[in-house]
C-alpha cells in the first residue's frame, strides 16, 4: 500500500516536473497581430514574417495563407539573369520567397502614432535578406496609410514585394488600375498561366467591387517616382501583383480608402 502510494506521488511529481521544465521554454506565438482603429494585420512568424491577412475596416484584401506563398504578402528575390530558359520553368530554382524562410523574426515596436513591424534574419542573412537588411512595416494607429520600407540595394537581379490581392470578391471582380509613368491609365485584365503584364508605373489603384456604391480599396505608391515597374498576373481569383524593391531600395505607401 505504501509502495503504491509512493509510486503515485512519484508519478505526479514527475509529470508536474516535466510541465515545469517545459513551461520555461514557452513556445513563441506563430503569428504577430497588429490591431488598430482601421487595420487587423497578421504576420506569419513561422513563414519568414510574411503578411497572411490584411484587413481594412474588417474587409480582407489578401487571398490568404491557405494559398501558401501565393496568398501571402512578402518579398521575392530573383536570381534569374533573364537570359536562359523560360522563367516559368525556372521558378523553382531561381525565385527565393520570404514565405519559405525559417530564420526570420518579427518584432514590433509601438510608438505614439504607429507600430513598426521589423522583419530580420536571426542568422544575420537569409535567401531574402542580406547581412543587416530588414523589411519594416509602418502601421499607423489612427490613419489609413501603411508604409513598407525596404531601404537596401537589391541583392540580385530584381526583388519584388509580392501582393496577392483578391480579384473575385463575393462573385464580383475587383479592379486593378495602373497609372503609368508615361501618363496612361491601364485597367488590368487577367493573364494566362506563366504570363504577366508589365507596366512602368509608380501608382496603382486596387478597388474592391463587393461594396458598391461605396468603393473600398487602396492606392499603392512608391516614393521613388523615377522609373518604377509593376507586374500583374492572375489566377481566376487573385491579382498577383509585384512591386519592385530595386536599386537603392524603396518605400511603398498604401493609402486605404472607403
Amino acid at each position: 500500500m505504501v509502495n503504491n502510494r509512493n509510486i503515485i506521488i512519484g508519478l505526479i511529481a514527475m509529470i508536474l516536473s516535466v510541465v515545469l521544465i517545459s513551461s520555461v521554454h514557452a513556445t513563441p506565438a506563430t503569428e504577430t497581430n497588429i490591431n488598430t482603429s482601421y487595420f487587423n494585420i497578421t504576420f506569419d512568424n513561422v513563414h519568414g514574417g510574411v503578411v497572411t491577412s490584411l484587413q481594412y475596416k474588417g474587409v480582407e484584401f489578401l487571398t490568404g495563407p491557405e494559398q501558401g506563398v501565393w496568398g501571402t504578402m512578402g518579398l521575392r528575390r530573383s536570381t534569374y539573369n533573364g537570359t536562359t530558359g523560360d522563367v516559368c520553368t525556372r521558378w523553382a530554382i531561381d525565385m527565393k520567397y520570404q514565405y519559405d524562410q525559417t530564420n526570420h523574426t518579427v518584432t514590433v515596436s509601438e510608438g505614439l502614432l504607429q507600430y513598426n513591424v521589423t522583419i530580420e534574419s536571426t542568422l544575420g542573412s537569409s535567401e531574402i535578406l542580406g547581412s543587416g537588411e530588414k523589411i519594416v512595416w509602418e502601421i499607423p494607429k489612427y490613419t489609413t496609410m501603411i508604409k513598407v520600407n525596404y531601404p537596401h540595394t537589391a541583392g540580385n537581379t530584381k526583388e519584388f514585394l509580392y501582393m496577392p490581392f483578391i480579384r473575385n470578391a463575393i462573385g464580383k471582380y475587383s479592379t486593378l488600375t495602373y497609372y503609368t509613368t508615361s501618363g496612361g491609365v491601364v485597367t488590368a485584365t487577367p493573364t494566362n498561366y506563366c504570363e504577366s503584364n508589365y507596366y512602368e508605373s509608380s501608382l496603382m489603384d486596387y478597388k474592391l467591387s463587393n461594396n458598391p456604391p461605396f468603393p473600398l480599396g487602396t492606392m499603392i505608391y512608391t516614393e521613388s517616382v523615377e522609373l518604377s515597374s509593376a507586374y500583374y498576373g492572375a489566377d481566376v481569383n487573385t491579382w498577383q501583383m509585384h512591386f519592385p524593391f530595386t536599386n537603392e531600395g524603396r518605400k511603398m505607401s498604401m493609402i486605404f480608402y472607403g
Partner: protein
C-alpha cells in the same frame, strides 16, 4: 546671423535677373510666372487645369501672415536632367525663408517644401468636374461648394473623363481645405510642421491598350513582341449624371477590317442604355453612346463590351459611375429649406463600451443620423473643432484618474443636435511595462505549470521528510 543671410537673399533677389520658364514635357506643360515663381498655367494634353488668372488662379504659397507668393519676388533657378526638370524657389516672407522645389516629369510634379513654416500651398484647379478627397480615416468624399477642411492624404480630380490629376501627400497627411471661388476648386494644402513636406501630383489620361502581353515575367523587352496585335484604346472609367447622354470614342488599333458586331455583357440594365455607331471605319473609330435615364439609381455599374469581326474578338471592361443630376443653384442661398432637421439619434461609445481603461488614448464609436460634422468635449467644458462625421474617432481623456465623461454633438445645415455623453473610469496604471510586439500564447500555461511545479516540489520534499 539669420537676419544677415536673409538681407543678403533679399539683395540677391533685387540684383538677380528673374525669367519666365515654360516646361513642356510633351504631355504636361507648366508655366512659371517670371517674377514670383508661381505656376500660372498648368496644362495636361492641352487642357488647362487652372481656371482663373491672377493670384487666386496660380499655384503658390500663402504665408502664415496671409501673404501670397504671387505678390512677392523670389530667388528662382532651374536645371534639367534627361527628361526631368527641377525648379528651385526661395520665398521670403518677413523673417522666414522657405525652399520650394518642383520636380517635373512627363506625368508628374513632385513638390518639396523645406522647412515647412508656410501655412498653405494654394492649388486652384478648375471646377469642371468631380473632386474626390481621401481623408486620413479612409473616408472618400466628394467636394462640394461649401468651404470645408479635412485631414487628407490624397485627392483625385477627374476632368471630363479623360484627364486625371491625383494628388498624394505621402510624407504625412495634410489638412486640405477647399472652397469654390467662381470657377475653381481652391485647394489649400495646409501643411503640418515637418522638416520636409512632399506632395506628389500625377497626371494621367485614360487611353488603354488591351492585350499588352508579355510572356516572360522578368524581361521588359519581350513586351514589344505583340505590338502588331489589334487592340482597343478606350476609356474604362466613366462618370455620368442622371439624365445625361454622351458619346465615348472606341478606337481600334492595328485592325485590318471593320467591326461586325458589338455586344454589351454582364449588365442588362446598362445594355439598354448603350448604342454604337461608326465614326471612321478606315481608322477603326467607333462611338459608344450612353444615355443614362433620369431615374437611374446612383452608384457604380460594371460592364463589358465585346467587339468582333471574322478575325478578332476584343473585349474591354468598363466602370460606369452614376452621379446625381446637378441642379444649377440659382439664388440657392436665398431660399431657406425649413423642412430639414438637425442630426438625430446620436450615440457615443468609449472603447467599445468597457467600464475601465488605463489608457488616456481611447477610441470613440459614433453614430448620428443626417450629420455632416461633429465635435467632442471632455466633461462638456472645451469643445474640439468641428470634424467631418465618421463612425470612429480617437480621443484623449484628461488627467487625473477618475470617472471621465465624453460629450458628443453633431450639426448639419439645419442646426446643432442635442448633446449626448458616455462615461468611463480612467485608472492610471501603477507599473508601466515597455511595449512588446511579440505575442506569446503560452502565458496561462506558464502560470499553471509554475504552480504545478511548485506543488510537485513541495510533495517531494514532504515525502522525503516523512521517509
Amino acid at each position: 546671423m539669420e537676419r544677415s543671410i536673409l538681407s543678403l537673399l533679399t539683395l540677391a533677389i533685387l540684383i538677380c535677373p528673374v525669367y519666365a520658364l515654360n516646361i513642356d514635357t510633351g504631355a504636361l506643360n507648366v508655366e512659371f510666372d517670371e517674377t514670383n515663381g508661381v505656376i500660372s498655367s498648368l496644362k495636361y494634353n492641352n487642357t488647362e487645369l487652372l481656371s482663373e488668372t491672377g493670384k487666386y488662379g496660380a499655384i503658390g504659397l500663402i504665408s502664415n501672415n496671409g501673404n501670397y507668393q504671387y505678390d512677392s519676388n523670389v530667388i528662382f533657378s532651374n536645371s534639367t536632367t534627361g527628361e526631368v526638370w527641377t525648379v528651385n524657389i526661395i520665398y521670403i516672407d518677413g523673417s522666414e525663408s522657405t525652399n520650394l522645389t518642383y520636380t517635373i516629369s512627363k506625368s508628374y510634379i513632385l513638390i518639396n517644401i523645406t522647412p515647412n513654416n508656410i501655412s498653405k500651398l494654394l492649388v486652384p484647379i478648375t471646377q469642371e468636374s468631380l473632386l474626390k478627397i481621401i481623408t486620413t480615416n479612409g473616408t472618400l468624399i466628394n467636394a462640394n461648394d461649401i468651404y470645408s477642411e479635412y485631414p487628407a492624404q490624397a485627392f483625385q480630380f477627374n476632368l471630363k473623363n479623360t484627364t486625371y490629376l491625383i494628388g498624394l501627400f505621402y510624407n504625412k497627411p495634410l489638412n486640405l481645405s477647399y472652397g469654390n471661388s467662381q470657377e475653381s476648386w481652391n485647394l489649400k494644402l495646409n501643411t503640418p510642421k515637418l522638416d520636409i513636406t512632399s506632395i506628389y501630383f500625377g497626371f494621367y489620361s485614360q487611353e488603354i491598350p488591351l492585350f499588352h502581353e508579355e510572356n516572360n515575367k522578368n524581361s521588359k523587352t519581350s513586351s514589344t513582341s505583340n505590338s502588331k496585335k489589334p487592340y482597343l484604346a478606350y476609356f474604362s472609367e466613366i462618370t455620368m449624371e442622371q439624365n445625361e447622354t454622351n458619346d465615348f470614342e472606341l478606337k481600334f488599333i492595328n485592325l485590318d477590317r471593320k467591326i461586325d458586331s458589338f455586344e454589351v455583357l454582364e449588365n442588362p440594365e446598362v445594355k439598354e442604355w448603350i448604342s454604337f455607331k461608326i465614326i471612321n471605319e478606315t481608322l477603326g473609330t467607333y462611338a459608344m453612346t450612353i444615355s443614362v435615364p433620369e431615374d437611374a439609381i446612383l452608384g457604380i455599374r460594371n460592364f463589358t463590351i465585346k467587339a468582333e469581326n471574322s478575325k478578332v474578338s476584343l473585349s474591354a471592361n468598363f466602370i460606369l459611375t452614376i452621379t446625381e443630376l446637378k441642379v444649377i443653384p440659382i439664388e440657392e442661398k436665398t431660399i431657406e429649406n425649413k423642412t430639414g432637421s438637425p442630426p438625430t439619434d446620436l450615440v457615443v461609445v468609449i472603447d467599445n463600451g468597457i467600464m475601465e481603461t488605463n489608457s488616456k488614448e481611447v477610441m470613440l464609436g459614433l453614430h448620428a443620423e443626417n450629420a455632416t460634422e461633429c465635435r467632442f468635449s471632455n466633461e462638456g467644458k472645451e469643445w474640439s473643432e468641428w470634424k467631418y462625421y465618421d463612425l470612429i474617432s480617437p480621443w484623449n481623456l484628461t488627467e487625473p484618474q477618475g470617472e471621465k465623461t465624453v460629450y458628443f454633438q453633431c450639426r448639419n445645415e439645419y442646426g446643432n443636435s442635442e448633446i449626448v455623453h458616455s462615461a468611463i473610469e480612467y485608472i492610471i496604471p501603477e507599473i508601466t511595462s515597455p511595449p512588446t510586439g511579440q505575442v506569446f500564447t503560452a502565458t496561462p500555461t506558464i502560470i499553471a505549470s509554475a504552480i504545478g511545479g511548485f506543488l510537485a516540489l513541495l510533495l517531494f520534499l514532504l515525502y522525503k521528510r516523512k521517509k
